[in-house]
Amino acid sequence: MGIDQDTLLRLTDLTVDFASQEGTVHAVNKVSFDVAPGELVGLVGESGCGKSVTATAILGLTRMVTNATISGSIIFEGRDLVQLPEKAVRDIRGRDISMIFQDPVTSLNPVLTIERLMTEGLEVHLGLSHSDAIKRSIELLAEVGIPKAGRRVKDYPHQFSGGMRQRVMIAIALSCNPKLLLADEPTTALDVTIQAQILRLLKRLSADHDAAVITITHDLGVVAGMCQRILVMYAGRMVESGPAKPLFAHPHHPYTVGLLRSVPRLDEPRGTTLQTIAGLPPDLAHLPPGCSFAPRCWLADDECWQTVPELVETDPGRASACFHRDLLIAGAEMPA
């Protein structure tokens, strides 16, 4: 399987384990997916499902964690980031692949001006002179919608509001024209009205810069309006993937069904009780031998408890890791 023109990033069996006192924590477990150039992908799951670790692995940051072991491959533009030496990865990180973090308050260095924060990447990666880098920084700040960018570039992060700081983060992430942008919960720390602004900005900038974006979130609403394709993770494994519309309309994995049923929706009539997914997500150091969702699943039988289901194609472009996918495809409902 060679890398074709339509693939920017291909993860194959990516596995990230962390050694801990409790035993090995299987944070990411044989995760595989592709991202096309310019594609908007949503990576969805609850805390501890491995979505952020997947992103840090793509960025080559897990290699700095001493107790982490990585296997599988992350092919970015034909090169395997897992195998590349740190020096080569450092050229890619921040230039071709960049990241927007969740909390704009803690992820900008408070003792540096916006100018310093922005010009660093431009000078290191693009080799711009300091004055050119400042000029470019001001353009970028204006592009992400910061008024009076020429003056604000001299300010410190604390002089900006949360939404404005997230715009600065986006400007920094975009500064070297990345081909892939990882947005880890980009709006979780923001208010609803600001969230709407930031999501639109991201979508527009992705089109303008022809950059693929992987949006990582626990909020199904955030990816519904923004992403073309959705990847659902549970307990370190990919459980479902597919184009956004059919996936939301008719999920093929019981976990996705449960997630969608358990959140109240503004556009649906008010119900009296919410459907819930019983129980808790499993401990990643002591995963059940079979499907990790089996202890919480209403469809689980003996096979589910014993064997880990593979991700199997259900429709063109769609896949589900469930032995009972045919029941769900046929329209089985979650019991109340």
Binding site: P147, V192, T193, D219, K245, A249, L266, R270, T273, L274
Partner: protein, 371 residues
């Protein structure tokens, strides 16, 4: 009824037989900003809550929504007198809490409890679960040692925690379980009224529904009255009977749940509702959210006139930026604070063609040579 309430009008639905449990009149909480080391001079104030009038009726859930910093948590705490209001009165079953002190206040506190946002920070990590849930009983002299233990077991069972775990410490429990323990603690003194301050926002998506269902079940079982504070409008819609929307220290709109969500009249409520993402790409495609430009102004220097006029697409110069709008009953049971609502007419906020707003529009081509 006092003169103040007839003058300003406490927002209540007229004549549906429900008794008022809590009434808030002209509640203000201003946190002073001081300067100087030895002699602290007051140089300003954070106007966290700036004149609230509303009622909570026995047995209902009043949802209080707004963005961070709008004063919704301060309101909840000021009602319970955890933060003393700067001015204004809080009536609980007709008695003014703001005048109470010491023993008398503690006696009233038995009737009102709070569930906190962060179950990791609100349980003492050095106390066992049994001690945490039993402490309110001890403080209020409600049971002897044996009675306490029996009561704690019963409470834990009620909230869905195995009663045999009462000798364990909070760190041995998951977030959702800790929140259940926090709920058991609030229930221990058999309160009538509970302030739920963002009780689910620190929890995982699949756990949230469990806690919401538990809160609703407890309300039915014990006839509880809730003030449900949250920023998530979908959750508030699900759980509330009436909803109040706050913006920068003031209530801008208050109505029955269905009314507020179906015919929001205040421009801020309209914008807020349209910005809530819906987990359905097909539905999202059909929507054109109103994207408000700019940020919420600082509560240190709230804008003059209507606090929302700086971001309001319908704001009228010379009116909205000068006069404070009063929260008035625009339709029976539907209260709103907007100058532009007259009779049956109210401003309809629609999404413009330029959906990125002014800030971006004038900034996209600053020098004419951007890449």
């Amino acid at each position: 009824m006092s003169a103040a309430s007839s003058q300003r009008g406490a927002a209540s639905a007229a004549g549906n037989g429900h008794q008022t449990l809590v009434r808030v009149e002209d509640l203000r909480v201003h946190f002073p900003i001081t300067s100087g080391v030895v002699f602290q001079r007051k140089v300003g104030a954070v106007y966290a809550v700036d004149g609230l009038d509303f009622e909570i009726k026995t047995g209902e859930t009043l949802g209080l929504v707004g963005e961070s910093g709008c004063g919704k948590s301060t309101t909840g705490r000021a009602i319970l007198q955890l933060i003393r209001p700067t001015t204004g009165r809080v009536f609980y079953e007709g008695g003014d809490l703001a005048n109470l002190k010491g023993k008398a206040l503690r006696k009233q506190r038995r009737r009102m409890q709070m569930i906190f946002q962060d179950p990791y920070a609100s349980l003492n990590s050095r106390m066992t679960v049994g001690d945490i849930v039993g402490e309110p009983l001890l403080v209020h002299h409600m049971a002897d040692r044996a009675g306490r233990k029996a009561k704690v077991r019963e409470l834990l069972e009620t909230v869905g925690i195995n009663p045999n775990t009462l000798n364990r410490y909070p760190h041995e429990f998951s977030g959702g379980q800790r929140q259940r323990i926090g709920i058991a603690r609030a229930l221990a003194v058999e309160p009538n009224f509970i302030v739920c301050d963002e009780p689910i926002s620190a929890l995982d998506v699949s756990i949230r529904a469990q806690i919401i269902n538990l809160l609703q079940q407890l309300q039915r079982e014990f006839g509880l009255t809730y003030l449900f504070i949250a920023h998530d409008l979908s959750v508030v819609r699900h759980i509330s009977d009436r909803v109040a929307v706050m913006y920068l220290g003031r209530i801008v709109e208050l109505a029955e749940n269905a009314v507020l969500y179906e015919t929001p009249m205040h421009p801020y409520t309209q914008a807020l509702l349209s910005a809530v993402p819906i987990p359905d790409p097909a539905a999202e495609e059909q929507r054109r959210p109103v994207v408000l430009t700019g940020d919420v102004p600082s509560p240190v220097e709230p804008p003059p006139g209507c606090h929302f006029h700086t971001r309001c697409p319908a704001a009228r110069e010379g009116l909205c930026d000068v006069d404070d709008p009063v929260l008035k009953e625009v339709r029976p049971g539907h209260w709103a604070a907007c100058h532009l609502i007259t009779g049956d007419d109210y401003p309809h906020i629609r999404a413009g063609e330029d959906d990125l707003g002014v800030a971006v529009e004038d900034a996209v081509h600053p020098g004419g040579e951007s890449a």
